[in-house]
């Protein structure tokens, strides 16, 4: 049963195999109530997550992306999540310049035993996405908006008066 009322949105979760996937499992086994918008993709390590996975997911219309890995210092592969943290932070700051609300992406750390923390994270993130609503799409930008931004940067090119 969805915790949140209203239409389900499309949220994609990339979870590391060793901690967060276990954490989500713990939450399930513990029968913690969770919203059902999240679709989980299990990856070996948060360090495996190419920021482009997230960018492609969002550009192609997902309403939100959540990444979760082992807590720093607890990575199964010792340092995968340290690299991930740098990449994910860079991506998070990059998304708004593309026109994607930074609130549509977040990353966090949840261990395999933290079922309750997982419940909290997924609920808070899902609520956040519901507040933002369905993601606007690049291929459906209103013509008025296009006209508005057309002159935002003055450029030269090979324009010649008619």
């Amino acid at each position: 049963m969805p915790v949140l009322t209203g239409k389900e949105l499309r949220i994609v979760g990339f979870l590391c195999n060793w901690c967060s996937y276990g954490g989500a499992d713990t939450a399930g086994v513990g029968r913690f109530n969770q919203p059902t918008d999240l679709r989980i993709i299990r990856v070996p390590c948060s360090g495996r997550i190419d920021p482009l996975f997230i960018a492609k997911t969002l550009i192609n219309g997902a309403d939100g992306v959540l990444v979760s890995g082992c807590h720093p210092r607890d990575c199964h592969y010792a340092e995968g999540n340290f690299y991930a943290r740098r990449r994910l932070e860079v991506l998070k700051r990059f998304l708004p310049i593309l026109g994607i609300d930074p609130g549509r992406f977040d990353y966090t750390w949840v261990s395999a035993s933290e079922g309750q923390r997982w419940q909290k994270v997924v609920t808070a993130f899902t609520e956040q996405i519901h507040t933002l609503g369905p993601a606007p799409r690049f291929d459906a930008v209103a013509p008025e908006l296009l006209a508005k931004v057309a002159g935002a940067i003055s450029q030269g090119g090979n324009r010649v008066a008619a």
């Binding site: 960018a55 860079v90 593309l98 026109g99 450029q155 090979n158």
Partner: protein
């Protein structure tokens, strides 16, 4: 002896030990210079130095691996060489770097706009002269004087390294570092001022005319995957052949993310774009982020490790969300 003549002399001296030396020569008209591959003394005599040397010759270096080559660089080009060295993509022993102080290069898009405003066009240019302060372009019988500050490439308007950061042969007196001009980041400033939905509209508007020629990628000295770019592979299948803005923009994201912490902001991506798409703004934004997060600038120290190839257990500038 002028900088150019001294460069020619020094290159001629070095040429016998080199496969070639890459520089610039006059192109098909007075407004365009073009990359020059010097293999003989007669080739060296064609060398040019000045505001029309817009190209970054470092782009050719990774493709010439295994050969000993020379390259003539502006300050900004030298940063690409350094970044390539940082990443072990070229071998220092195989590269001979020739450099001179740079007084800035023009942005041909800005020159075209000036010509258009004067009622003429870039296609009919017959003469160009530049003295460091002003560029005078004669086109369609009119001579238009353009202050360098108005037609220089953005990177020149905030240039920190007018002299090569690494060179084997540096000729002439070093060029003074220019004072940054506010308009140097007009594109990024405009984007910063926009709302997030407006930015989506902005990219939708500009990417629509992308022809997917990958000039931005191929002109980029740091795009070293070359023939194996994921944009054109079927396995993995990152991009489809749909003529859609999402596919086109996705490639720009691929390019930008693969440049994170590596981009020296030479501006070749945008300069090369035949459709004048302002793709450099994405990299400017990214570089600002990298600088804010890691206090790092690519391509100035050959021994430095790019920030995304290292980490700190306690990151000073990354504030994670508490749930």
């Amino acid at each position: 002896m002028s900088r150019l003549e001294e460069l020619k002399t020094r290159i001629k001296e070095a040429l016998p030990g080199l496969e070639c030396v890459i520089g610039w020569q006059k192109g098909y008209d007075a407004l365009h210079n073009t990359p020059l591959f010097m293999r003989s003394a007669e080739d060296v005599d064609k060398l040019e130095w000045g505001a029309l040397n817009v190209h970054n010759p470092a782009v050719y270096l990774p493709t010439m691996a295994g050969k000993k080559v020379g390259v003539v660089v502006k300050g900004c080009d030298s940063r690409s060489v350094v970044e390539l060295l940082q990443e072990n993509l070229i071998n220092r022993d195989n590269i001979v770097i020739f450099a001179a102080g740079c007084d800035g290069v023009v942005d041909l898009t800005k020159v075209k706009a000036k010509l258009a405003a004067a009622g003429t066009g870039a296609g009919v240019v017959t003469a160009v002269s530049a003295d460091g302060k002003t560029v005078s372009v004669t086109a369609g019988g009119k001579t238009v004087a353009m202050p360098m500050a108005e037609v220089a490439a953005d990177k020149c308007l905030r240039c920190q390294y007018p002299n090569a950061v690494l060179a084997d042969t540096f000729v002439g007196t070093p060029a003074p570092q220019p004072t940054p001009v506010p308009s140097a980041n007009a594109d990024l400033d405009a984007l910063d001022a926009m709302s997030v939905p407006d930015r989506m509209a902005f990219w939708r508007y500009h990417m629509d005319r992308c022809i997917r020629c990958y000039a931005c990628r191929n002109a980029c000295p740091m795009c070293v995957c070359r023939d194996h770019c994921i944009a054109q592979s079927r396995e993995p299948h990152w991009l489809s052949q749909d003529d859609s803005v999402t596919e086109k923009l996705m490639f720009q994201v691929v390019h930008a993310m693969h440049l994170a912490g590596r981009c020296t902001e030479c501006g070749e991506c945008q300069r090369a774009c035949p459709m004048d798409i302002p793709v450099l703004a994405l990299k400017k934004h990214l570089n600002r982020t990298i600088h804010d997060l890691f206090d790092y600038q690519a391509g100035v120290d050959a021994a430095a490790i790019p920030p995304l190839l290292q980490f700190k257990t306690e990151e000073v500038n990354i504030k994670e969300r508490s749930w």
